[in-house]
């Protein structure tokens, strides 16, 4: 407990320092990409618990993001609803006023996503492999269709005018919390049990692991952080629409995991960073080469080559730890 608190304080003060540093010295464009990296890290690391550790192939992450984004925006944003019979616009001021409402709104968004995770997880986690993937894909689509028809949050038009609350500080703080809690989780009995389920579900059950229950818990954990990330992304973009959270978004997160190495926390972080930075970094290449569209070609090519030459991802299931670093650095013990 003592150590957890210390880590939290360290993380928050680090985020505070980095936030100040970024605001003071670094170009806004780079800061924005760092912020997007932070959000991608939360997404990838949380999905890693479901897909990587527990071995359940979920394609519903964007659905949880959408729930988190819309629920948190519902509390922080001025809503305008057009009455199609009278032509009047009904305006509702934000329920949580000011920046202090942001974190509660985010947490409510995360919890709503977690609740959805519970509701979806209980029936679908009986399914395995491809079947689960299809079921979670279906869940994501249901969320999008429902949002497209909710007039109070703008329906298909989306919800613009979210306040500018998602600073680097909050994004990095939550990314830190997500990563640290995942490290703990991975090393805990719970995490070990999840790995056992991944390796052999039957054997795990025989060993007395409550498979169904643990799977649902992993799902809820992932959904909670996906909801948080959705809320952060919404307040960074400052406009959300159902199409932002389409199933391609889920695929993007899965690709991050596969690129980094499914089951590796370090891999998830590296995958998230690489796939967020790469398309932006290639923008300048495209400009220089005067080849419009080459950006997406290179992006795809990187993925294809990696899958051919390193199908297990950059890290495989290994982690980057101080021990490994020591071994790799010159002069280290072999």
């Amino acid at each position: 407990m003592h150590r957890t608190l210390l880590l939290l304080v360290a993380g928050v003060s680090l985020a505070f320092g980095v936030d100040w540093f970024l605001g003071e010295f670094i170009e806004e464009y780079v800061v924005r990409i760092i912020n997007l990296c932070g959000i991608a890290i939360i997404l990838a690391v949380s999905l890693n618990v479901i897909n990587g550790l527990c071995g359940q192939f979920s394609l519903g992450h964007a659905g949880f993001m959408a729930i988190g984004a819309y629920v948190s925006a519902y509390f922080t944003t001025t809503l305008r609803v057009l009455n199609t019979e009278t032509g009047e616009t009904v305006v509702r001021s934000p329920l949580f006023d000011g920046a202090w409402g942001f974190v509660p709104a985010l947490l409510i968004g995360g919890m709503a996503a977690a609740a959805a995770g519970l509701v979806v997880g209980v029936p679908t986690l009986r399914l395995k492999g491809d079947y689960l993937a299809i079921a979670t894909l279906g869940f994501g689509e249901i969320v999008i269709i429902m949002l497209t028809n909710f007039e109070s949050v703008g329906a298909a038009r989306g919800l613009p005018g979210l306040p500018n609350y998602a600073s680097s500080f909050w994004i990095l703080t939550f990314a830190w919390i997500c990563v640290v809690s995942s490290v703990f989780l991975q090393r805990s009995t719970f995490g070990r049990a999840l790995i056992a389920i991944r390796e052999n579900e039957l054997a795990a059950e025989v060993m007395g692991i409550r498979v169904a229950r643990l799977k649902v818990m992993a799902f809820i954990y992932g959904a909670f952080f996906a909801g948080l990330a959705g809320g952060l992304l919404g307040h960074l973009l400052r406009t959300i629409s159902p199409s932002t959270f389409g199933f391609m978004k889920s695929i993007e997160v899965v690709v991050m995991l596969v690129l980094g190495g499914l089951g590796s926390l370090t891999g998830a972080i590296v995958g998230a960073i690489v796939l967020t930075v790469l398309p932006e970094a290639l923008r300048d290449v495209e400009q220089q080469a005067k080849l419009p569209g080459i950006r997406m070609v290179v992006y795809a090519l990187v993925l294809i080559l990696l899958m051919i030459f390193r199908p297990q991802g950059i890290f495989g299931q290994r982690e980057l730890s101080l021990k490994l670093l020591r071994r790799l650095l010159p002069g280290g013990r072999k």
Partner: protein, 392 residues
Amino acid sequence: MRKALILAIAATALAFTAIGCKDKGNEAGGSGATEDTVKLGLFVSTTGEIATFGGDTKNGAELAVEEINKAGGIKGKTIDLRFYDTASKAEEAGNVATKLATQDKVLVAMGAVASGLSLAAAPVFEQNGVPMVSPSSTNPTVTQQGKNIFRICFLDDFQGGACAVFAYKELGKRKAAIIRNQDDAYSTGLADYFRLKFKALGGEIVADESYKKGTKEFASQITNVKAKEPDIIFLPCYYNDVALLSQQIRGQGIGDDVPMLGGDGWESANLIPNSKGALEGSYFGNHYSPEDPSEHVQAFVKGYKAKYNTAPSSLAALGYDVVYVVKKAIEDAGEFDRAKVRDALAALKDFKGVTGTFSIDENRDARKPISILKVQGDKFLPVKQIQPQDVK
């Protein structure tokens, strides 16, 4: 060993700082102009779901830039057009906006086509005080994002309202049916405003049916519509849906005396061939007509055909106009200064573009007429212009 680790971390940090360090010296003067060039930004999607729209807009804008540079530029400075693709994604629109505003330091930014992308870019430009002019985002909330955000196309409410006025006053129709795509913001927006205006004029909406994105078979909707005996059918959808809908509507025996009516989503070279004659005698509202005999429009159509070997769409025309609007604003402002250009944009009056003569109103939206075109043979013929004051 530990030293090596620290060194490595320090080196990465340093490299990072070097890449992204703020260029403090240039910040105050960052108005996008050097001695002989002026930097303008363009951001549209040339990849992803809506790539064709972005591609046309980009072509139109590049044609205008080429013409202006050939004629001596803006106040003697050639245009340095910075173009970035937004890949039909809101995240990328925000990134590109940040890059244009803070790294390239453009004087004015032009884009995006889709409202969802404009909405993601607008807060960034507003925060950095960069005027942004959207060629074709029709969602009313786009320009509400701040005093630097403009647009040069008409809005969904005007378009829907104008269609209602045309149906009621020009065609003398009293019983309208609507078939809308419920998953599409554009479609539901047009349908809502058509409905409001048509009822306000005294007409009756006898049926308001909706379908889901990707529907190919509209039998149930059309049966419901047919039972109510409308005298006009409003189809606020994109051309691919319209082509199918129109054939099935005629196929179910709703006769030619019940014309169909729609918005600018109908415009496509594929509309007439795909609908196999079912749309003959139907109408739709559009930004302009390439058949317009005016000299200005014909010169643009000719120039565009010469460069790209295809007829310009409305989006190409709007992309062309947006560059000239920006040019006019810079000339009116008299200086290469963002705030002054913003004020000049806000005060723009009676600008003569290929998409009509328009002014910017107090909401930073364009007040411009809509051209109602009639489908006749293999052509879209202009039949009527509806002015903003006719709809209010």
